[in-house]
Symmetry: C2
Subunit: 241 residues, 2 copies
Amino acid sequence: MASSSEDKKFGYIPKDYVVPEDLDYLHITSNNTIYGTQHKSFPKVSVPLVCDMSSDIFSRKVDARQFALIYAGAQKNMGPAGATMVMIRKDFLEKNKSGLLTMLDYKTHVKAGSMFNTPPVFPVYVVMLTLRWLKKIGGVSAIEKINNEKAKLLYEEIDRNSMFEGTVISKEDRSTMNVCFRLRNESLEPEFDKMWKEANISGIRGHRDVGGYRASLYNALPIESVKVLIEVMQEFERKFA
Amino acid sequence: MASSSEDKKFGYIPKDYVVPEDLDYLHITSNNTIYGTQHKSFPKVSVPLVCDMSSDIFSRKVDARQFALIYAGAQKNMGPAGATMVMIRKDFLEKNKSGLLTMLDYKTHVKAGSMFNTPPVFPVYVVMLTLRWLKKIGGVSAIEKINNEKAKLLYEEIDRNSMFEGTVISKEDRSTMNVCFRLRNESLEPEFDKMWKEANISGIRGHRDVGGYRASLYNALPIESVKVLIEVMQEFERKFA
């Protein structure tokens, strides 16, 4: 491992770490869904950079040229679980060590046009429909603006509202996809839970390893849903502050 | 390879071959979708028997106890492509050599309750619906009767009709799932193709490696569809015999 923020409960994105020049590659995950951190820029390294973009692919513009390999499970911003998109730079593909098992060698799948195995047709089809929708509303640059606006509204409320606090230590690393926060007084959780459930909000309990709350703002979530949560947070403050 | 019927274009199921007793396992495929042959019974061997049942799972009753491992892609009789069912006998699972890559070791998936990776939710859901439907109509023994009836009707017509011939050499190995046949006079293919297309039949051209015709009679295909094809074959005979 080149670096870790485990010392502070993964509350920031490590920076300024040294990457040995003899590495085969450096692997990063662009967005941490559990702790709500996100790479706003990517490390400049001389070794090939490999990135798991499963949870923020197509949420913002990214210069793909800085990566040797990008992969992303469909299930966050692309479509149903069961398909994974892989982009690999040709020179990195050629560097693949021989001796890899057939199915694990990306060359197998490139050669067969991604149909070496029977493809998961339905998930791939829904990814196509989702990408057509994204294109129609203005593409990645349009959804990026919407995503930034959604995250800005919610983080502003978290910082303003006396009942809550964000869990990411370094504000500049806060994810636009997964907004993690908790109650300053955790004994009030049952009260807060009751209120957001009554507002027909679902799925904002934090990851089982972390607790607290996590609002996921993936591409499919409209800004109206964020506003409903903010209203609940404000109502909660009026009642319990 | 323990045995092959390549000498006769895979037109029969090899039998009476000798299986070395020091094999780790013997692998068979219960049904050959391309050439239309099917194991009606399975080899009695002292080594663990592994079976790919992708194309005839849940089409007929099978005594699972004779297998150490059964696997089947969902896309024929279970649901949409993208999920695979694996049944493995506990003692065979334990025999797994250590040193397998995490994802390729069935122990990983058994331990994690098949959720080590994000499961392909939609394909799994449709498999559930399909199995509920199967249960409702009387289960595997009910569908087996229907499948046998569908195959019997079609093979009888192939054998009776002067224009056609079956491509499987040994009739006892004929598949109930994939019925392969060809025209005795192949120059009439354009005429026959026109007729079945007009009857709204689709997908009966043989596999690209084989040519001829292949009618797939998977669980989802109603007996009425088989009767439509038979009518077209009879009409074809009346016109061109």
